[in-house]
Symmetry: C2
Subunit: 223 residues, 2 copies
DNA sequence: CGACTCCATATTGTATACAGTATGCAAAAC
DNA sequence: GTTTTGCATACTGTATACAATATGGAGTCG
């Protein structure tokens, strides 16, 4: 007998997709970088066929861009696109929280623990991961799975830029206070207030990233 | 010198993805149907490699589901998922309209023409296409392209079920009146009112589809 | 000295071949 | 008659081979 959960796990192209996605998200493949299929497939120890299927998936997710007869390259997120993604999350996240309802005591404790670890995290990558996890845990009980998938896709899409900013200006005070305000409303049983605070967090929390990206774009177009 | 726009369109796997997507959307490949890669690749006149890349894309879009060692099958949309998708559109479409702003005279004329053709359309498929086009035209001026892409993806995802319903109960009066109410607000220069009417349209316009799907699911689980 | 052309090389796009696994039928056991 | 077991077949998963196109540099012309 096998476990009921990960019954089947033999899917190279899916595993490759996860690996390459991770390489993009954490910067081992930089924005704009071209993918050499032969080299990458050898590095991953697979042939080009499953790699290309993985690349095809990633292109349709928006992580890569495909140019005929030239190949795949890591799709750089422009400032505009970053702003556009973050103009959408204030619409989705608060609704997800509203549908999720007030958290259980255990759920609240988990949120508090994640936020503590977020504030105390040493490196930028861990901090962003914990921030993302906090937001996911906040809305995990939402029954609308499609909505959760969409939010998750947006988190992945913007992650590497948040990490980049956090490296340069590792200020976690504002985000931590936003989280605290939301949790306070949840503790008080005031769901609408929590949604409003979340919306505010989504609307303003990423202004520093946008500002940083803008400055960077103006400073060196060559970079 | 090259054109700035789409200079060449030689991409078999992308063309195949479009073709198969169309086959799914218009029902030539029914919900739950399994994909035989050899037969389908022969029918399309290509080999399995580009077909599989296309299938991989479609799986990541949610149109197909992939089971290891078994293959791809057309992903049936459950009633729950349909409801979830349509719980999201009232969040997105009104915001897109708000960002798009009031339409030009030409834009308004186009909307009116599309709505007339929608009401008068003979077959279900044409009607739904025109309805989709109307909604796309309504928000085409929205500068947030990410938002437009997300809405477009959701339209494609639900299309075949709308067509199926329209075939059985071809009532276009309610939708036509909803459209008319939105256009009236736009003519009057009242953008907030138009957004509110659009939100209402999105919240209630698909109740018949949900009701129909629910009845169908209860009636014959075998189908 | 700069720009252009042409060719060798590298890389992508597609097809085919092979291996591993599921599927369905037939025969046998209970 | 029902269930089980084994096998032949079909199909998917992956690797490899081949064709078409882009890329970069050397040589040449203005």
């Amino acid at each position: 007998m096998q476990n009921t959960e990960p019954l089947r796990r033999l899917n190279i192209s899916e595993a490759v997709a996860d690996t390459v996605r991770a390489m993009i998200v954490d910067g081992r493949l930089g924005p704009g970088e071209r993918i050499n299929e032969v080299r990458l497939s050898e590095a991953l120890g697979v042939s080009r066929t499953p790699l290309r299927e993985a690349l095809s998936r990633l292109a349709s997710e928006g992580a890569l861009s495909a140019t005929p007869a030239i190949g795949y390259s890591v799709r750089p997120l422009t400032v505009e696109e970053f702003e556009q993604v973050y103009a959408i999350r204030p619409l989705l996240d608060p609704e997800a929280l509203r549908l999720a309802g007030l958290p259980s005591a255990a759920g609240l404790a988990k949120l508090e623990a994640l936020n503590r670890r977020f504030i105390e995290a040493q490196d930028a990558e861990t901090a962003i991961t914990l921030d993302d996890d906090w937001h996911r845990a906040l809305i995990a009980a939402c029954p609308n799975k499609v909505l959760l998938e969409m939010i998750d896709a947006m988190i992945l899409r913007t992650r590497r830029y948040e990490v980049a900013l956090m490296r340069e200006t590792p200020n976690r005070r504002v985000a931590g206070e936003d989280h605290e305000r939301i949790m306070a409303a949840l503790r008080a049983g005031d769901l609408p207030e929590a949604c409003a605070a979340l919306k505010h967090n989504m609307q303003t929390g990423f202004d520093p990233v946008v500002a940083w990206l803008t400055a960077r774009a103006e400073a060196g177009a060559a970079a």
